[in-house]
Assembly symmetry: C2
Homo-oligomer: 374 residues x 2
Amino acid sequence: MSALSFEILAKDDSGFARRGRMQLPHGTVETPVFMPVGTQATVKSLTPADLTDDIQASIILGNTYHLMLRPGADLIEKMGGLHRFMAWNRPILTDSGGFQVWSLGDLRKIEEHGVRFRSHIDGAEVFLGPKESMQIQRQLGSDIVMAFDECTPYPATYEEADESMQLSMRWAAECREHLPVNAQQALFGIVQGGMYADLRLQSLEALSDIDFEGIAIGGLSVGEPKEEMMAMLDALAPHLPEAKPRYVMGVGTPDDLIEGIDRGIDMFDCVMPTRNARNGTLFTDDGKLNIKNLCHAESEAPIMQDCKCYTCQHFSRAYLRHLYMAKEILSSRLNTLHNVHYYCALMRRARTALEEGNWPEFRDQFLQRYRCEA
Amino acid sequence: MSALSFEILAKDDSGFARRGRMQLPHGTVETPVFMPVGTQATVKSLTPADLTDDIQASIILGNTYHLMLRPGADLIEKMGGLHRFMAWNRPILTDSGGFQVWSLGDLRKIEEHGVRFRSHIDGAEVFLGPKESMQIQRQLGSDIVMAFDECTPYPATYEEADESMQLSMRWAAECREHLPVNAQQALFGIVQGGMYADLRLQSLEALSDIDFEGIAIGGLSVGEPKEEMMAMLDALAPHLPEAKPRYVMGVGTPDDLIEGIDRGIDMFDCVMPTRNARNGTLFTDDGKLNIKNLCHAESEAPIMQDCKCYTCQHFSRAYLRHLYMAKEILSSRLNTLHNVHYYCALMRRARTALEEGNWPEFRDQFLQRYRCEA
């Protein structure tokens, strides 16, 4: 019996956008969904209560690479798994660690059965491959486990992208062997293939031969122009399996999410709302704003007029600018709360538009307004 | 009409400890009370909701010196005062800035009508005296305004302490002139006199000639041994005005607070719970613990067994240690929440003991257990 069930509740007749519902061991996830990133067993600066009560997040992401190095998968398992360790009782998706070790550049060496690398914390040599990643993610106890893959660099020649994709497909099969279908954890395969549509389709084909509970699209948002990213999603959209949730990894800006939904994507994650918050960059329907700017110094307005987050309900831009300039911890916290709330609320608005059958209007109005400022 | 009214609800027959209630423009304060320090218009890492809902703080402290330099008293006044600026609708006490400018050492010069100093932020020359401090605290709109005084250094000769105290007493009278009794803000005088009991009593006598709504004891916890601090409180205890709230400034550890209550003190403030939290030092009934210690690495226990704070209700020492080691913002936040909760809960326990007539037992049991660890 699978750990994941998925149903489509509504669809946009004019395209690929859909409104779904995913059942996982730790709860229900309404899609399209944004998953806040909780790299080191915490969504930076936020508590689980912030995420459930204010932000209404239904699923978060954890990073296998970071957690395996500190505090270590053995400790987390001993403490009852990642959910209990961080006091988060809703679903968790963990990535495989593949992207992070790939990002280490010279510090890692890719071999047939995984990657040998040095820890960024203490320099210790570590080996991580499909087998090890499945083992660690089992110890973490996440609801959704990601296959271990190699992220194809950008730019890459056709041959490089092909070779890299083929390796990821062999690893994908290995992952399923090490984590067979079970009631505790679902496993997602990851489409690679660089910026070559035919390789992407070959990759999707290879994954369809393996029984994954969901399909992710990896290797995007790695430096390519937005048009290339969207071209890959366009190429895949008609071929993605209807009955499985689809997840585009590490994407993106609010308008990227809307564009992704329009291309049939159900799940997103990105560090942007959390990381940008700490740099004073805040998201609104009118694009980004920088709270450092002098124009906010005496502004009694909230970040965004209709936002229901705790930050916007209580604090002026003038106060938030003061906290930022004074380097107060509360600055990171209030900014993060707003940004993550904004992303999750945007997904709620998208779901409502899909339910009510006015997705195209919602999408067009949103994109026009959001991009007007930028 | 005064902005403050104070009543004694219960007293310990065997000594000076008392249980009181203070009415201020922004609400009621049950005493003995601990006032969390919100230096830059924020109790570091905490929101007003944390302070009201979890910690149940009834009054917080703001720092005139920091606020006048950044974001500036004019801006805060323009934004509707400090309460509205920081979205805190319960009472606020502001200090006078005297202690901070005194702490600047070589960067300041004391004159007859105040102190000339350079801003630690941009080096600009600023003058702050009784008149200026009252003006700024009026702009901030705090419920309790502190008189502008000079903190006597430790150690100081009798002559130095005398001269310094006399200056503070002249400034105290000036403060009252510039902030006459009114319905919006109460004014507290500050006893100085270094570590000389007769100077302390002279200072108290001088203040009693001026109509202050409360009496503070300043110049303690400035490097002197604890016995000297307690000796000063002992000397003053029988002479403090019964009908006015008494506040010992910048004190102290949990056991200092209990000792202070025992000497008739009603109000306390200290950066210790907030600052120590960020360094990983946590308060419990068994003394302090350092969350960095390896002994907590696999501990499923909360910081303190019976603590009702959000941190203790949800997280293990193992998790808190992980957050600290990983330098996560949430570490500062969860630690601060616990420490400030601990201080405020300790005051609630003291009030209950005073109401129930078992103060001596509570005091002795607390001190024995707390000091056992240290």
